[in-house]
Amino acid sequence: MAYIHLDGVSRQYGSVWAVDRVNMAIEKHEFVSLLGPSGSGKTTLLRIIAGLERPTQGRVLIDGEDVTELPPHKRGVAMVFQEFLLFPHRTVYENLAFPLRMLKLPKGEIEARVEWVVGILALRGLETRYPNQLSGGQQQRVALGRGLVGRPKVLLLDEPLANLDRELRQEMEVEIRKHQTGLGIPFVYVTHNQEEALSMSDRIAVVRGGRIEDFASRADIYDRPKTAFIAQFVGRSSRFEAIVAGGDRRLALRGDGILIEAESQPGLALGERVAAYVKNEKVRLKPAEPGGADAPNALPATVRHVILRGAYAEYVLGWSGGELIASRPRSEAEFAEGAAVTAFWNAADVDLFPVSEPGR
């Protein structure tokens, strides 16, 4: 039996189902991310686990206990909010001591535990400050500390890093994951930022329109997207439309001026329209060779822009059917803007999805 169970959980606002028949099982030592675009229902789902919101339907179980009817203060969960929500009239020390006071722990125990959090989160020297005397990063640490100090059954985090700058965010990602491993409690982490989800999670639930699109290991989510939405939302990729033209072990697909070869997939019939996604980093480049056209998975293209991203160079390529991006390590041969190249990739790196509705 998993540690946290969501059993057919739904939440309706007016005529909108913010959360729609969600089933999830989260293990005790797991770091799980809820990844989805803004408005997809992530916060609502988190608030349902916290007890701040009641599900319209379904049940929530934590540690074997049905907590669906339990108010938040009796659930033993903790939360880190996007806006921090530190108590502005209390010092850092008092903010950190708050969950412990509510647990009615003896004074000595409270002091020891706050001391512990102050230590692991590098808050020493800030104990007597008020929240408005702290930087964003420091407030974030206090918010995290307040979440950890009571040793909750589960820590819920709602986009906790969204208000921090990039550098600080990456630092905190490492730290958050470290504390999760150290404490051995499940973290449920809400984010719309795929990099955050990919960097920390054991498993990722992709949320879309209140539903869980897929709940799988981060490698599976990234490398083997189950739906076109996931292929589009996780990682960066180029998309081609094509028609299944034949083949058995390998599928041949024909699009506008492009020939794609992909590994065979069940359920794709001859003549069916499909969308093919190739991740930017799977697209490789070589100098254009005359007369070498018509090979599958190879596109003659021109380098339009080169965007340097530290260790990577992003090539924006123009081809007869539009644009395509290749992300290559700087250690590889570089191409100048205007260069004629051939972009190519492996059949195994093509993710195929039937196009059900036009424009999807």
Partner: protein, 286 residues
């Protein structure tokens, strides 16, 4: 250039304003209070005679004490009523919030005198309330006929809208999600109220309390029309010095005493309360 002129203008105007409307009248009161009035004439020799009268004639002390008790009681009652009312509006007002806020200003569209006289019509011996009681064969309620209770009711009625408005504005600026945070971390709803909601709205509550308390101290109309023979309040007595009795200098001295008492109360309150812990947001960062 801009960096110097703007603060000078924006701080200068309120300073002038304060000087003209507050400091100058106060100074003139101070001066008048050490002069004398005889037969409706001001005699300009300096003495502390007026203050001696206030200290020795017991009636003034009684009026002051009665006023302090009255103002405290009325402000406390107003605050107790205003809190749930204001809180209810912030919670359930929905899109009618603005309407409710404006509605509280409606009583001010009629003058204070009118409202007090209307209340007299409700509470008096021949008033609506006792009229109904009599018609039903019951005894009239004596406590509301020209008593201090009637005065208190009148003052609550007069100042409740202000207190509700001030507390409501405070609650409007209060981030309700802090309550979510408190309950997540183990506070019951009641606990969350006393740990979070109440302290973070204490500043607003104190302002509301003060905006009721101070005018209650110097109230003249309510005790005059609703209070009975034992209902004379300090402000009413003070007004009489400037009116019927024509003892302006004594009235000025009473005013100075009232001002001193008010300042003292504010100072005591400020010493008892740590503004940082009251939801006062004027400190900014740093």
């Amino acid at each position: 250039m801009k960096g110097r002129v703007a603060p000078a203008v924006f701080l200068g105007i309120p300073t002038l304003f304060l000087a003209a409307l507050f400091v100058l009248p106060l100074l003139s009161m101070l001066v008048l209070s050490v002069w004398r009035t005889e037969n409706y004439h001001i005699i300009r020799d300096v003495s502390f005679h007026n203050y001696a009268v206030l200290a020795t004639e017991g009636a003034y002390m009684t009026f002051l004490m009665r006023s302090l008790v009255m103002a405290t009681a009325v402000s406390a009652i107003c605050t107790l009523i205003a809190w749930p009312v204001a809180y209810g509006i912030t919670l359930y007002g929905g899109r009618y919030k603005l309407l409710f806020t404006l509605a509280f200003a409606v009583p001010f569209l009629t003058g204070e005198v009118l409202r007090i006289i209307a209340l007299q019509g409700l509470l008096g011996p021949l008033g609506l309330l006792n009229g109904v009681l009599l018609a039903l064969g019951a005894a009239p309620l004596r406590v509301i006929m020209y008593t201090n209770v009637a005065s208190a009711i009148g003052l609550v009625y007069l100042y409740l809208p202000i207190v509700v408005t001030v507390i409501y504005l405070s609650l409007l600026n209060f981030d309700q999600r802090l309550i979510d945070a408190a309950t997540i971390f183990g506070a019951s709803p009641a606990r969350a109220f006393f740990e979070i909601t109440w302290p973070l709205n204490l500043f607003g509550t104190l302002i509301g309390f003060a905006l009721c308390f101070i005018p209650c101290l110097s109230a003249t109309l309510a005790p005059r029309f609703l209070g009975g023979p034992n209902g004379t309040l300090y402000g009413m007595a003070m007004a009489q010095q400037f009116g019927e009795s024509g003892t302006w200098a004594l009235g000025a001295a009473m005013g100075v005493v009232l001002f001193a008492v008010s300042v003292l109360l504010v100072v005591v309150a400020a010493r008892l309360v740590d503004l940082r812990r009251t939801g006062f947001t004027g400190f900014g960062r740093g």
